[in-house]
Amino acid sequence: MTYGENSARLREALAALLRQHRIQQRLGGAGSHSVPVTTSHEERDRLGEQIRRYRHGVLLWCRHGITAAGPHDDGSGPVTRSRGPTGDLHLRLGLTLGSSLSGLPSLEELTTAQAFPMVDLWRDAAGAAALGEHDFAEDLQLGRLSHAERMTVTRDVADVTQAIVVLDRRYARIPGWEPLREARRLARAAETCAMSISDNRLDYAVDSRGWQRPAALIDGAPLVGMGGVVQAQHNLLVRLDRFPDALNLRRVLHGQRELSYRAALRARPTAPTIARAWMTRADTHASLVRASRNLGGRIGNGGPAAAEAAIAVQCLAALPPGLVPTEEELRHLDHLFTHVDVRLREIIEHGAAHRLYFVNVRLPRVVADSDSLLKPVRERYVPIEPLHSRLMSVAREQLPASAPRPAPPASASRTRHELEDALTHRPEQRQARMSL
């Protein structure tokens, strides 16, 4: 699940909790003469403990989020204005978590439906927070976010923290309730942080980032027509997960050149723009093929990738003459071309950086045991020189560094506005009337 899915689920649960009042009644306690009391003081105490464990999970998500949106200082110094709103919130969250006596909820607590809807909403929030931690360990690690994405994550964390503090105050009468340490300071830090980030600095494209399910091979019988080409190209992308040796890298580059060229010829009648882009891609791969003729390197296993590249070419060549690909097939293939190119660039850069690929160059050297006056020119393999290698320069200049990000989902702004409205106590009905 992506950051957007997890954080939206978290916000929806918290917005629903913020709309709930008469907390004792919602836990089966007294509060209304028409509703009977169904839980004892001790039972409500235990429910309070469980809610605090869920809350701890959400606070931990906040801490991970604000850390990913860093850098911040280590928090060892005094709280000063120079720390800034984000650094202050980072510090306050750390202090709150450090002083909390609640542990994290168990797996059973996260996965078992709860009898009271309010507790179940907390379970939903804690479940989203637990899943969301995977996002911060993967694609949203510290240093991987753009400035606008960092601002968006920071704003989300600030809103969620404010919601937690509001609920903490509201739950004060639950038996045995342990309030947050220095809740007022935490609330002020979150509020200042949220106010310091204006809406026009946000980038909801961050919602599409986070943990992604690894792509799997398309098994089974080979598909017919263009489907077979797309299948083989997809499998090539999956196979490129393993680092290929130099010879198989050359085979893949050669296959991609031929595939782009032949696919461009097929697409030309109906999609001239895509055809031009693919012809340019064929030229790029031709340059890469030429630049890699002297490439060496035995480490890796690119046999399966080279086979998939060859299958894609064969599938395309086997199509009946005159068969024009559909718009959807062209889009899929174009998408795969981009991702394969990004991966090939990563492979070439990795091979050069770790000295797994070598270029064979002619270097004259003295042969001590040669009787002849003419010293023959011997061959030597030398590691790729990143700044001088033709292969490196073509890869860096002509292959994309990253694939374009998808547009943010339509729900990205909805869940954020709902939480903001819940924080400012604006009921949904009133909103509807106001909009009229």
């Binding site: 050669h254 093929v289 030429r290 060496g296 064979n360």
Partner: protein, 98 residues
């Protein structure tokens, strides 16, 4: 790899690469590159660097490529592999018709 093998293989690779670079059509260039990859695969990818060759006409380069391939017999490839390589070279020339 012995020096005699290296110099013979360098010549064969360089002529085929020159044919790929000077091809009239993309189809021809693709097929010459395929022949070069096939030759390199016979040596497991452990191949010497390309050498610069004197600029001759395409037919001369093609003849020199055939001769240098024939010289490789006994230098790491056998007669069957040679015939397969020559067949690939011929296919490439057929595809390289403007």
């Amino acid at each position: 790899m012995p020096f005699a093998d290296t110099s013979t293989l360098t010549a064969a690779r360089s002529y085929i690469a020159a044919l790929a670079d000077g091809a009239h059509t993309i189809d021809g260039s693709v097929e010459y590159e395929r022949a070069l990859l096939h030759l390199d695969a016979l040596y497991g990818g452990d191949v010497p660097a390309l050498a610069e060759i004197a600029a001759d006409g395409p037919q001369d380069i093609y003849d020199l490529a055939e001769d240098s391939l024939a010289n490789l017999v006994g230098h790491g490839i056998d007669a069957l592999q040679l015939e397969l390589l020559l067949s690939l070279l011929e296919d490439a020339r057929a595809a390289d018709q403007p």
